[in-house]
Structures are given as C-alpha cells and as structure tokens.
C-alpha cells in the first residue's frame, strides 16, 4: 500500500476523504427517538445521557460502514440499579423500542422475567425453562427484574446458579441476538455481582437511577394526570407541592409510584366531592379538574399537624 505518497490505508481509500456527519444524523431519525424520550420521561439524566452516547456510536458506526471499516457489535447488556419507583421497568420497556430504532436489535420486543420464570423446582427443570425464556426473547430485550434472587448462596440446593450459567453463555455468544437488562436495588445487586464476577464482566452499562427531586415529581404528577385527561387547578398544584414535600420525608417513599398512588386517591376524593355537591350544575371541566381540597383532605396533612403539635408540646 502506498503509505508514503497519498496515505492509502488498509482498505485502499484515502484517509483524508471527508465525511458528512450532519447528513447521516438527519437521515437516521435518531433525533426523533431522543426527543420522544426527553418528553415522556422526566429527569433520569444519567440514563438519557447514556442513550445519547449509544446513539452517537451508532451514527459513527454507519459512517464507518460507508468506508467498509466494519467493527464488532458493541456489548449492550445493562444493569439498572435504584430505589423503588424510579423508572427502571419503564425505561427497560422503552429500551427495546429505542434499540430497534437505532438498529441494534432486530425485533425490539421486551420479555420481562423474574426468578420464577427462570429457575425450576427440581433437578433438570431449570435448563429447559431458562432456554425457553431466552428463545422467546431472541431478537429483543430480556429484562430480569430483581436479578439478585437468582443466586442464593445460603441454600446449597438452589438451582439459580444453573440458570446463571446458561444466561452467561448466551450473553457472550449471542450478543447480536439478545440484550439482557438486569435490575434491582443497588446494595443487593452489588452483592450479587461480587459473587458472580462473570456476570459483572459481561455487563457493559451500569446505570444508576437517582431519586427524583421535588420539581421532577410534580412534573411527573402533571404528566400522569394529563395522560388520563385530568389537570390540577392552580391551588391544587400548590397543595400538591406541599404534599410532595411532606411525603418525601416520610417512610416507604417509592418515588413515582407513591405519586401515582397519591393521584389515584385524589381522583377518589374528587369523585366524592362532585357527588356530594350533586345539587350544583356540573360542567365538563369540573370532571377534569383536581382541586386543592382533594389533596388537602389527605391523612398526611393531619398527621403532619399532629407531629408539629407533639414537637411543640415536647419542647415546652
């Protein structure tokens, strides 16, 4: 090859040929996917950043393909850690579609499993069970929720290890066919990976789902209501902000899930309020509005009052 004179590389094409990144970007419709993700999921900055990076890799890959600089499919197996209600399952459901749009998986369907679907009850039961699940997930995404339950070192008669073996083999050999996403709480998943170094080395992307901030939770609440054709009145918004503030400090706070439960209860109270005032003429907009009183009736506010009073009494 003529290296000295005009820099012909291994493929025989001049290295200084220009590439048009912008045109490739427009034609791949990647921006549409990223925009949709931005609108429909609030917060989740690390996740969105990582997806953007994967999209950039895809674009560069396509440009390289134009020059026949072929490279291996990147490993896409992921690990989602985070507290309950932070959107792990939701993002996994989106991930299948996103990867299909980006061209990394063929079909893009999602198969959600937990330990029960993978591990059998008697010797010889695990392997066919796990293989069936893997066959169904081929061409798409396999989402294993609460993955740490797969491995129970305390119980020597546990068949979870067999299932892990099969998964490891498939994750390595069928990287083009299947993307595996594991999910669970951070500390338990860390312990799981410590005892299974093979699994950890096969996971390329570790994504932590941070807890939502107060503004993000309010935005999520508004989005949830809008999907169901409700909206908060101005006072209602104020009341709900206060509700979130107090609820976040209480125990068993499950982020977006707690918000969803709170909104369901608010809808219940709204229905009861409309029923109680049935003498007044109802308009369509009344059916759609959640007022401040629907939120303020929550037990949380009376509990908070009680606590404040108790604290005041204690100080005296």
């Amino acid at each position: 090859m003529n290296d000295a004179n005009n820099n012909l590389s291994i493929t025989g094409i001049v290295d200084d040929t220009e590439v048009d990144l912008e045109a490739e970007y427009q034609s791949s419709q990647v921006q549409e996917v990223l925009d949709k993700l931005d609108q429909e999921l609030i917060g989740l900055k690390p996740v969105k950043t990582r997806i953007r990076e994967i999209a950039a890799l895809l674009l560069v890959d396509r440009l390289r393909k134009q020059f026949e600089l072929l490279s291996a499919t990147p490993t896409l197996h992921m690990n989602f850690t985070g507290n309950p209600g932070t959107g792990k399952t939701t993002v996994a459901m989106r991930m299948g579609e996103i990867l299909k749009r980006l061209g990394y998986v063929r079909e893009g369907h999602l198969v959600t499993v937990t330990r029960d679907d993978l591990v059998g009850q008697y010797i010889g039961h695990t392997a066919p069970k796990t293989k069936e699940v893997i066959k169904k997930a081929m061409g798409g995404v396999l989402f294993i929720d609460e993955a740490y339950y797969l491995y129970k070192p305390e119980n020597e008669r546990d068949y979870g290890a067999e299932s892990i073996e099969i998964l490891l083999q498939v994750m390595e050999n069928n990287r083009d066919d299947l993307v595996v996403i594991l999910a669970g709480y951070k500390d338990k998943m860390d312990r799981f990976y410590q005892s299974n170094p093979g699994m950890r080395s096969r996971i390329a992307h570790h994504l932590d789902f941070p807890d939502y901030s107060q503004q993000e939770l309010l935005a999520i609440a508004k989005l949830m209501l809008a999907e169901q054709n409700y909206f908060l009145s101005a006072d209602g918004e104020q009341a709900f902000s206060e509700y979130i503030d107090i609820r976040m400090t209480r125990e068993h706070f499950a982020n977006a899930r707690s918000i969803r439960n709170a909104l369901d209860r608010a809808r219940l109270r709204q229905a009861n309020r409309l029923f109680a005032n049935s003498s007044k003429k109802l308009k369509k907009i009344d059916l759609m509005t959640i007022e401040a009183e629907d939120i303020k009736l929550s037990r949380l506010f009376s509990q908070e009052q009680q606590d404040l009073q108790n604290n005041a009494i204690k100080k005296e």
């Binding site: 063929r106 079909e107 369907h109 293989k131 893997i134 066959k135 169904k136 081929m138 061409g139 798409g140 069928n174 066919d177 299947l178």
Partner: protein, 145 residues
C-alpha cells in the same frame, strides 16, 4: 442415466438443491414466522416416503418473533442426532388451512443407501410393487453409523 447421485431423498421443499446454509434456513424460518405459522423440528432415521410422522424434537414454537431462537433448536437437534434426517415444518393453523405449509430437510446422514424395489407376484401374474429403504434393514440405532 442417474439423475440423483448420492441417493439423496427428495422429500419436502428445496430437496433438489444443495444443502441450505444457516443463513438461508434463517430466512426461511423468518418467512414462516412472518406468516404466523408454528415452526417445529422433527427427526427420523427411516427415509421411507410414507413415513409421515417423524419424532418431534421439542414442542412447536409459535410464540417466537425471531428466527435466532429456532435456529438454536435446529442446531441442538443436529448436534444430538448428527446421522438422522432432520426437517423443519411450518404449520398453518388458520381456518380452512390447518395443514403444514412448509417442510424441508436441514440435515442428512453422510451416506444415504437408497431404496430397493420389491416385486410381488399376485394372482393372475399381477405384480405388486413396493419400495423398502436399505437403511431399515438394520435396527434403529445402527442404521447410519
């Protein structure tokens, strides 16, 4: 004139063509899945054309979206029974059809001995013909070694 060198049995689709590559099998399975047919893997060592019901290797797979999973099954079967005939059948369950729509052999034994023609004299000097595969002269596990 010999038109079938090697005595390859010509049962099912593509049987006159050279062996299908994995890539070609994948695209055929994809076609079957796109039409919503149930794909099944079967094997046998008795090549007689009237042997319709071969042994099933696992259940029919109709809820899969991607051919990669089915190809895994096919390769498992070929590894377990390297010297048997293995075929893929695609069954259409829609009303009015209820029949296999595709059926092609994906694995053959190394040497296929072929068939002998047996003539049986009946009354009135009538001759009844039948064919018997040479392979079935031996018991089941010794047919193709």
């Amino acid at each position: 004139m010999m038109t079938n060198h090697g005595n390859r049995i010509t049962q099912g689709q593509f049987s006159f063509l050279p062996d299908l590559t994995d890539k070609q099998i994948t695209s055929q399975i994809k076609y079957a899945l796109e039409n919503g047919w149930a794909v099944n893997v079967e094997y046998t060592d008795d090549p007689h054309p009237r042997n319709t019901y071969w042994e099933m290797f696992g259940m029919p797979m109709f809820d899969l979206k991607d051919p990669a999973g089915i190809l895994m099954e096919v390769n498992e079967c070929r590894k377990t029974f390297p010297n048997h005939y293995v075929r893929i059948t695609a069954f259409d369950a829609t009303r009015g059809w209820e029949t296999p729509r595709m059926s092609y052999i994906v694995n053959r034994p190394e040497k296929e001995p072929g068939f002998r023609l047996v003539r049986q004299e009946r009354e009135g000097r009538c001759v009844g013909y039948t064919i018997i595969p040479y392979a079935t002269d031996k018991p089941e596990s010794e047919r193709y070694s």
